[in-house]
């Protein structure tokens, strides 16, 4: 006798991985059809329906956030130029010179912290460039909401922050991976080498995640504002 319950993993995925669609009614419909007793309503049919619903939900989210996606791609393309600019600034800065004179491990810790801070500055600057006009157009701008929006990128940034560290090592190494003496910010814009592409991918991931979460946050009406 066939099971009256559909695959539990598929049901869990339907309820947790389907952005946007009305999950409860859809889940109820699929369960009703699965239990209808029709020959063609098998476990394979249920899986196909769930996977299709997830794909459709994801596609709709992409469409709903296409301007954010486009901005994230364009801003990420520029990121190697920011790396070169910040490294050139570092090379000519007295403060950074003092940092490198510190004893290990403090010099390494400070280098890592400065690298992370520069990366986060780039991400937040881009997010602010995207969010401020949109918030102003929606008449919902406030510093608190902007800061709340910018903080949406932090989880992803923290999760993959090993990447800028590795890039710092790659970029500063004297082993011929990248000779920073010959790179200008303008050259970096069109650099397609591994370090530049990884930098772009890193920033793209954070920007996509941060802008997607910030957009969802901004759709909610501001709290405490008079009507």
């Amino acid at each position: 006798m066939p099971s009256a319950d559909p695959p539990s993993l598929a049901t869990w995925m339907l309820e947790h991985c389907t952005p946007g669609l009305r999950n409860d009614a859809l889940a109820g419909d699929l369960l009703e059809e699965f239990r209808s007793g029709r020959n063609d309503r098998t476990r394979a049919w249920y899986w196909r329906q769930v996977l299709a619903a997830i794909a459709i939900g994801c596609f709709r989210e992409i469409l709903n956030h296409r301007s954010a996606m486009l901005f994230a791609v364009l801003w990420a393309i520029v990121s190697p130029a920011w790396v070169v600019l910040s490294n050139n600034t570092e090379a000519h800065s007295r403060a950074f010179g003092l940092m490198w004179q510190m004893d290990w491990p403090w010099s390494t810790i400070c280098a890592l912290a400065s690298s992370l801070a520069m990366s986060l500055t780039f991400v937040w600057f881009g997010m602010a460039l995207y969010l401020v006009p949109r918030m102003s157009a929606a008449r919902s701008f406030s510093m608190r909401r902007l800061v709340h929006g910018l903080l949406q990128a932090l989880p992803m940034f923290i999760a993959i922050s090993a990447v800028p560290f590795a890039l710092t090592l790659l970029f500063h190494s004297g082993h011929g991976m990248v000779d920073r003496r010959t790179i200008t910010p303008l050259n970096a814009l069109t650099d397609l080498r591994a370090w530049a592409m990884v930098e772009r991918l890193f920033n793209l991931s954070i920007l996509l995640y941060g802008l997607w979460r910030a957009n969802r946050l901004l759709r909610k009406p501001p709290k405490g504002l008079p009507r």
Partner: protein, 119 residues
């Protein structure tokens, strides 16, 4: 006249199914209706995506029914065509009918080839 939003093929099919099903228009019967008329399976998720677009355009409205144990305690979402949706459907039918009537008649040999191909 104000700008018109023309219905896509799938959206039109869903609207017609919702009209036909009257009070029982929710995900399962709408999907079954489309499957029966199209002759092939359909994704219930795509039906909901289209219904959400139609509701955003004001062509259908929805309401929640009572949850039932057969559906795992989940309620049905019933859909109804609005007056705007009904006007849109009839306007689309009018335009499609005009286009069909304006189509030139196919040549006889083309018709015969189609008949032999189907045998």
């Amino acid at each position: 006249m104000a700008g018109r939003n023309y219905l896509g093929e799938f959206e039109l099919m869903i609207l017609l199914a919702v009209i036909r099903l009257e009070e029982e228009a929710y995900g399962v019967p709408i999907s079954r209706e489309l499957e029966a008329y199209r002759g092939r399976g359909i994704s219930v998720g795509s039906v909901y995506a289209a219904l959400e677009r139609l509701e955003a355009k004001g062509l259908v409205s929805s309401s929640l029914g009572n949850p039932t144990p057969e559906r795992g305690g989940k309620a049905k979402r019933y859909f109804r065509v609005t007056s705007t949706g009904l006007r849109q459907v009839h306007e689309t039918r009018r335009i499609l009918s005009k286009l069909w009537h304006a189509l030139p008649k196919p040549k006889e040999n083309v018709l015969k080839e189609n008949v032999y191909a189907q045998r």
